[in-house]
Symmetry: C2
Subunit: 348 residues, 2 copies
DNA sequence: GGTAAATATGCAAACGTTTCCATAATTAAA
DNA sequence: TTTAATTATGGAAACGTTTGCATATTTACC
């Protein structure tokens, strides 16, 4: 076998070519103050000439750092996630780190695998949004125990020594409910994701509290809890519209479900917002396209992503030890009122 | 300074603990056939006990490989891109590689930077979709010259020693045009991205050829070339609808633009598809939500992503040298006919 | 002219893994 | 029983970079 020498050229090669030591070359390349300008110039010129490329692996090994941050998210292609990922990627790139992205597809098994894989690849920090089914977070212990910065966003643990970034889900639930109530709705169907997940818990709590404040009943038949897929949305809507009495509002905790609800309501011959009002969550681009446009809760994914990225970078820089008591960062939500609930009203 | 010993534990530590050699431990951990089962068991048990974690950096340095694949794309959050990225990530993860994702934000400067950064981090393969302004691809030479697998998708170079995956844009342009013509349109406005980019060139060529075949004129005033942003779409639509005669069709080469066109046409009091037909490109989720639903050209991003991922992995495995003559992989497109152009017709 | 500081460079070890090449132990073949 | 093959393990170097420490040179100040 022909031993193809080294790919390009190493610091040692440059050193040999210039008859100086590798240390000097290394220092010259990163503008160490104690290297004379003359030497720096020679080294850089030679490096360019030989097509030298820094080897991040070797440097990483020596320095025990990879300049890499890991990201775990359920699915990149969902609008809300992709917006967050975009923001995180941009920020992390600006801070000089590489971002290694993994998807769990909402599989707890895969989540455990990728956590381990990212640990093995020595990421310097980890940003994660968990699967819908993650209730046991102990697979993240390898990070928290070895003091590697760990930031959760959106789908986060309740109590874990890590920085947590999450939307104000309680408020989202409350504002949605208050809005519907203020528009006179009494029979509100609430379609939620599984309560294993913190954000659906909080939204539901906010929703329930608002109803209670207004002394409105909340019968079981108006409550649906399941993964918010297209198929599930259809099944639920079929149930809802299969027989009267029909509800006068549907609050869906994601937009896909709200969109399906609108379609089913229309097919059932109901006027929106006259007969029934519909409210979604996340302010997906489709919400302002559909007719009537959907009222939805904006979550500012870009802000959330930026905060998550800033948080890891900050933690890495400051070498902060993560405490269980670290206060969560709550990002704002904002109800975007559109036609599906009657639109902006005069004086409101 | 207190020298915090090594993070967790290394192969050497395990070796010491069991009083065997590091080579044996290394081999045992990866089930080398020449290691006895007894030893393997002991080693693995000890590894688990000591919380040993493989160090991918050290292994990468030694093996001169990183088990990492790089991905460069303009913007993750655009629907088409995020679908591709999702597919690529999944495939790459399945194949046992990590995926490092970079965004260029359509900046040529950033593209050059990230290409270099990914090279330095020793990715074993690179998947890239270029910026709209990339006409000179020489910054990718460090990859092609060092024989590192290089795969372009969607926005690709015309002639470069790399594997190219692209949609059948010529056909997309043709089918769109033929469809509009078959529905009786004569004054078709064509809104395209800049012709610096291969895919807009091809779509335009397909469009133009179809018109020519049908002996339809193509006046300058019906042609618009600019980046397909929301703002540009609005500006163009204002121009289009500011004065009669109005066109009887608009073919926009992305969906955002087509959606804006629909809105402007509606505002101008035109009936869709009666007075004007509108056609988009990419089959964004919004196209089937908007009313009337938009006819659009489906590009099967998941397929494209899978092919791209398969291609890099294959190239890495086979160590294929990239030749300039490597035939491009063309993924299919499919016109999805909806109401905005009259919907599916009987017998078609 | 002597000492001290500042400037510039080199030596060598270390990061943790893998693998080529020995060697030792066991089994099979002659 | 010797030789050959097989099975199991160890030694040591190498991957390419960085950095603490040492040393050499220059400049500055008494």
């Amino acid at each position: 076998m022909i031993s193809k020498k080294n790919t390009g050229n190493t610091i040692v090669d440059i050193a040999r070519a210039l008859d100086i030591s590798p240390s000097t070359v290394s220092r010259a390349l990163k503008d160490h103050p104690y290297i004379s300008q003359a030497t720096k110039d020679r080294v850089k010129k030679q490096a360019a000439k030989m097509g030298y490329r820094h080897n991040a692996l070797a440097a990483g090994l020596r320095n025990r750092k990879s300049n890499t941050i890991g990201l775990i998210c359920p699915r990149i292609s969902m609008y809300f996630q992709s917006s967050i990922v975009t923001a995180i990627q941009r920020k992390v790139q600006e801070a000089g780190y590489s971002l290694v992205i993994c998807q769990t597809n909402d599989s707890y098994e895969i989540e455990k695998q990728v956590v381990n894989a990212l640990y093995a690849s020595r990421v310097e920090g980890l940003i994660a949004s968990c699967t819908l089914h993650t209730e046991d977070f102990s697979h993240f212990d390898i990070f928290s125990k070895s003091g590697i910065p760990l930031v959760f966003y959106d789908r986060v643990p309740r109590s874990y020594p890590a920085q947590v970034i999450r939307g104000d889900d309680y408020r989202g639930g409350t504002e949605g409910a208050e809005h519907l109530i203020s528009r006179g709705c009494k029979q509100i169907v609430y379609i939620s994701g599984p309560l294993t997940c913190n954000l659906y818990q909080d939204r539901y709590a906010g929703f329930k509290d608002a109803l209670q404040r207004h002394k409105l009943p909340l019968p079981k038949k108006n409550l649906f809890f399941h993964e918010l897929t297209l198929e599930n949305a259809r099944r639920t809507c079929e149930r809802i519209f299969s027989k009267k009495p029909w509800p006068d509002a549907i609050f869906a905790t994601n937009d896909t479900t709200a969109i399906v609800a609108e379609q089913y309501a229309r097919e059932a011959g109901l006027k929106i917002p006259g007969d029934i009002k519909i409210l979604g969550y996340s302010n997906d681009p489709r919400t302002e396209i559909i007719d009537p446009a959907l009222t939805s809760v904006e979550q500012f994914p870009a802000v959330m992503g930026e905060k998550a990225a800033d948080a890891v970078v900050e933690l890495i820089r400051k070498k902060t030890q993560l405490k269980k008591t670290m206060p969560p960062i709550i990002t704002p939500v904002e109800l975007v009122v559109r036609a599906s609930t009657g639109g902006r009203m005069a004086g409101s």
